[in-house]
Symmetry: C2
Subunit: 348 residues, 2 copies
Amino acid sequence: MSFFRPEIEAMAGYTPGEQPQTADFIKLNTNENPYPCSPAAVRAALETARSGLRKYPHPMAEPFRRRAAEVLGVPADWILCGNGSDDILTIATRTFVGQGQWLRLPYPSYVLYKSLAEIQGARSEEVRFQPDWSLGDDFAAARPGLRLAFLPNPNSPSGTVLPPGRILELAERLPCPLLVDEAYVDFADVNCVDLVARCDKILVSRTLSKSYALAGLRFGFVVAQPRVIEQLAKVKDSYNCDALSIAAATAAIADQAWRAENRAKILATRSRLVAGLRKLGFNVVDSHANFVWSTHPAQPARPLYERLKQTRILVRYMNYAGWGDGLRISVGTDAEIDACLARLAEIV
Amino acid sequence: MSFFRPEIEAMAGYTPGEQPQTADFIKLNTNENPYPCSPAAVRAALETARSGLRKYPHPMAEPFRRRAAEVLGVPADWILCGNGSDDILTIATRTFVGQGQWLRLPYPSYVLYKSLAEIQGARSEEVRFQPDWSLGDDFAAARPGLRLAFLPNPNSPSGTVLPPGRILELAERLPCPLLVDEAYVDFADVNCVDLVARCDKILVSRTLSKSYALAGLRFGFVVAQPRVIEQLAKVKDSYNCDALSIAAATAAIADQAWRAENRAKILATRSRLVAGLRKLGFNVVDSHANFVWSTHPAQPARPLYERLKQTRILVRYMNYAGWGDGLRISVGTDAEIDACLARLAEIV
């Protein structure tokens, strides 16, 4: 007899993107920012490391909440911090979705959502994006046992966004909370933070991994109304953010000048990448994120991925069952993107 | 209608010990180490902060696993790392215990275990310690739906240990896995790591918060047989340990000379604390941890806690329903303990 929960034993487990531990890869596969983070964030981590780590950190990461509240224009008690936004997604799933209940997600989107449902012993329902990457009303349809919907905006792998007005419409119709996963939102032109005050069913999650270049730090947060935050807080681990990450994240979010400058660079390189890929005959979806989704009418995606990898250029090959496959290429530096495009030109 | 899972809405939520953010407290309430961590751990954090945080960390915290494997004498794939050992306890609960099933714990012990069962929608059964802090065979009794037992060793609040032989006996009889929570084990004379190879039902968790003086870092791990680790790994967040904590934790566990020296200081001060309390008429349980559990035959515990707090000495007042209350006092520096004892002498 097995001691494990049958749901756990049966599941494959989420496989994160490859993380080669050598530095000789051009790494365009997990949407990391190619530039170093704000120097203020590094300084804050250094100061905290020097001043000592023997005490427990603040259980609610209060210094970050206060600073983020100023930046976002919401009260501090509308914010809950997490050990990466993955922690936030886990906490939300556990707060809202019981065993055997339903979690809804669009398809194709972030593969982790389905794993979170599996771990919880819950079921997940995938609602397909329309061919133009909009979402139909079926995403908001009632369903017995439906307890939570995840909506990444911008979406991965497409990099597309739904307008906030449409998201509010979907949230108001939905019979359950809607978590808008804004991991990539700083590379888009719109966001949904203002909707939280207008609809208590909306939660908005953010991460410092992408637009703050702090994937190594594991820091994310969610914005929701205080009565939602109060329940989420019961589910999180008591001290889920460490002292170093709280300090660095607080300094990072305070440095909005760094973020604006970084964003401008990423957006310029994204245009270069999109233009270069299109010139090589790729179909590329217009992106509002720090990656682009591309397919080639004549070249199957997997061999392209493999041949790039042979020359130590790592992009993400994604294959969505029943939908199709393609390459998700992160926006690196200009030099990295030029190297990737040059190699692709040799292959296609 | 509420959107929250009824289990979550109904629960009170775990309340961690007070964490005053000012430095003017003598803080003897959450079993932090009074000394700064190994300088090697600080150096490792500094180097990592300087070398950049833009990339995701190793999903399995591989550098730590390799080093810890050497220190503990187990293979690296017998180790899974967590964002504090709270993360490990959460992962284990989610791996083994389904909604409506049972989790067993001794009483009185770490209050968090019960909260973990509540969050999971599981039930928890408390088995009382004997008056001499041993555990009867009822701790190993069969029960339908029993899926996991937690056993802190040393226990909190008592600081007592069960001999590994007894723990093996209990594990072999139990119809489910037994997680031995060794958060405080470095202050004891025995540990259960060797039992993991002898019994696949035994998991041993550790933390760097106490004996490595790294509570601010959030780093813990579990030792279990590889087929257990494999299932636990599916439940953890993909990148549950950050780059700074992996680096610092790896350096810390490598510095066993620091740990031995720190341990000697804590044990000497613990003797001083126990002797001082007994001189003041307290009943003190012999402790194998970095805290002591004490009650006074004539003085109720809560006013003692409150009067200490008035003079900015913070100890932990614990009140276990149906069992009793008392003070759990962490082993600080000699000076801190002397100040605490002097104040208690004025009060009692």
